[in-house]
């Protein structure tokens, strides 16, 4: 059974710049497995090191959120469309975030930033 997987814009660089691809799969899990086998660089952005789908990765089968179906065991049929949709989250510092810093200095302004740290107690 062939299903179409829609690749979100931020991940297209890791999928040969494609916006979608066809894979043969009977479940969502199989489809994502085939996708990340074909495009290995996608894997770390979709799955944790433990192999679980990252919490901010949302997967839909024909506009139905798989969290409300059978998650990765959700069956797919020929012609289905699987969409990977980001959700976005973030927030400000906690003290334990200070070291190591989760960013690189690539230009002069970063060095200015690093001398400007202040934290709310």
């Amino acid at each position: 059974m062939s299903v179409r997987v829609i690749i979100p814009t931020p991940l297209r660089a890791y999928a040969g710049k494609r916006d979608s691809t066809e894979v043969k799969a009977g479940t969502v899990g199989e489809a994502l497995g085939r996708l990340t086998t074909e495009f290995g660089d996608l894997r770390k952005h979709l799955f944790t090191e433990e192999g679980k789908l990252r919490s901010f990765v949302n997967v839909y089968v024909n506009d139905e959120d798989i969290r409300y179906l059978a998650k990765e065991n959700t069956p797919t049929k020929d012609g289905d469309t699987i969409s990977i949709v980001p959700s976005i989250a973030g927030g400000s510092f906690f003290f334990q975030d200070c070291f190591p810093r989760p960013y690189d200095c690539l230009h002069r302004n970063c060095c200015r930033h690093s001398s400007n740290l202040s934290f709310r107690g």
Binding site: S87, A89, G90, S92, F93, F94, H107
Partner: protein, 161 residues
Amino acid sequence: MATAPTVKMSTEIAQKIRQHGADTYPNECCGALLGRDAAPDVTTTASGVQPPVREILALFPLVNRREDSPRNRFSVTAEDVRDAEKAAQEKKLDVVGWYHSHPDHPAQPSEYDREHAWPWYSYVIVSVANGKPAEMTSWRLRDDRSAYACEDIAIRDHAAK
């Protein structure tokens, strides 16, 4: 040596981001950056490598969905992302990133930011100190997810050429 990408935006858009941060203080604001990747500037850098350029041409302000901890967290749902993408398509633009504020904290990405980041997107952060918008920075996740790389922000009256 890696070349820091440049994010261009107008003074009006920069002001809107800062104002959104002030309006929602002491909570975090959030929204989508609509724009496109553009050809690098003609000017060649000292290293001979022209940095990639990303133009922010419109904003899509959103409601912070993190009702449990809005002072140090923000959340944009998948439905919000789809709405932002639809708004971008109507303007013939892309969602090229996201902005949010750090109330009373520096405009630097946290470990929580990194853990939840997507590659390719620009993440603009504005620090809001005692209700007043302060420093604004932009960041992009490295391909291996290990850290953020800083992007240069160029604020001009006309971002698009």
